[in-house]
Amino acid sequence: MPATLLELICPAGSLPALKAAVDHGADGVYLGLKDNTNARNFSGLNFDARSLAEGIGYAHGKHRKVLLALNTYPQPATLSRWQQAVDTAAEAGVDAIILADPGLMAYASKTHPDLRLHLSVQGSATNYEAINFYHQHFGIQRAVLPRVLSLPQVENVRRHTPVELELFGFGGLCVMVEGRCLLSSYACGDSPNTFGACSPGHAVRWQQTPQGMETRLNGVLIDRYADHEKAGYPTLCKGRFEVQGETYYALEEPTSLNTLELLPEMHRLGIAAVKIEGRQRSPAYVAQVTQVWRAAIDAVKANAENFRPQTSWLAQLDKVSEGSMHTLGAYYRPWK
């Protein structure tokens, strides 16, 4: 068994969101700085030096962890800013940084040997050889697994690596090519892996028309919602497109991941942490979701065999979900 088991890691896009997570039972929060060094680079979101210091003080005061995401890819001209961000995180006293770029891992492990490193989902490591490589060369201590593996495949990774594993538990789903997806850049000109945002605000336009609410990305119509339909995030992967005369979700339907019912299995596998998606969401969302997952994880730890997700938990999570469905994603599938 790992030293930690089913830590609840919650998103914080702002100081009030961090406090909401801590106050409602998160074991740790993850956050980013106010620039494109992280993959939620949206206007007005994230932390500057002052709010980072206050957030760390608040979390540590209640014995919770703060993880800082530096999970985009620096370019040669901007490398120094990413390295400065590593220095900022180390000096601020975060508990770990979450990295995707091997060059940055090399810098962090050499410059700050005592700083704990986590492998971001953006690193796209889906097999134990890759994870062990990062462990051996850079001392990575935890890996966030991409949402492409079934639970038996997660178990296989777990058996062959000393690195702690963190799984996504809840939140928006994407087309599951994390760290490698360039789809947004075809319409926006910005790659999410370097710009730090998929469908950045400057490219998005919503407009209510007589035909319904239209979503456009740099002028490209990606969806039109009738009045009764739920809306999704304005990303190309979740748009409806005309393909051979038929208009439908050609890539994927807006759907949220919800793995509450898999918690006993994650517990049995020795999964170190469960991650809640949504740094772009408000403190109200963070409070609601953290509260449910805290209760669920406590219930599993108390009695995994008899664990059943409560109806009220599922209703609460469904209420804040994107799309009209929730799914177990790739974790539950018979094929490999």
Partner: protein
């Protein structure tokens, strides 16, 4: 494996008659009243935020159940009422949803998914304002209200939290 979602969306609404009565208010005095109240209270706690790029932008808040549109801009001295001409961003929701957002009881993305909040125009400016306001703690804003009014706000929040 997918399961159908339950429809657990909170739908607190103004009584229709109240909406109709308030809807008779002319927009300009309503905007003036909103701007004045805002500047006398929460602006004190918001003026230190980084408003670069927001100054001079024109905003429109459409309260759809009151059929009321508030037009204003952000200046260095606070909000200023504007004529209803070409806003940069338009926020549309019901009065109760705006109140729940202001009291930090509702998540804007949840309202958007459920088609109860619409942001039209310059999305980046709209998201920035939303995120900046989310970054201010509710207790900080509450401090800006005079004592009795602050207690009314807290009471309203507590009541709405239970619904």
């Amino acid at each position: 494996m997918a399961t159908n979602m339950t429809q657990a969306v909170q739908k607190t609404k103004m009584p229709e008659i109240v909406g109709k009565l308030l809807g008779q208010l002319p927009a300009w005095p309503a905007t003036q009243a909103f701007v004045t109240a805002f500047n006398l209270t929460v602006w004190k706690k918001l003026r230190e935020l980084d408003w670069d790029g927001i100054h001079g932008r024109k905003f429109c808040v459409v309260i759809k159940d009151l059929q009321l549109a508030l037009h204003f801009s952000v200046t260095q001295k606070g909000l200023r009422a504007e004529k209803p001409v070409q806003p940069d961003v338009i926020f549309t929701a019901s009065l109760m949803d705006f109140i729940r957002l202001a009291l930090r009881l509702e998540d804007p993305d949840t309202l958007f998914f459920n088609r109860r909040l619409l942001i039209e125009g310059n999305t980046d400016v709209g998201l920035r304002v939303k995120n900046m306001l989310d970054g201010v703690e509710f207790e900080t804003l509450l401090d800006s209200f005079p004592g009795p009014l602050g207690r009314v706000v807290m009471y309203a929040r507590k009541k709405l939290q239970q619904t």
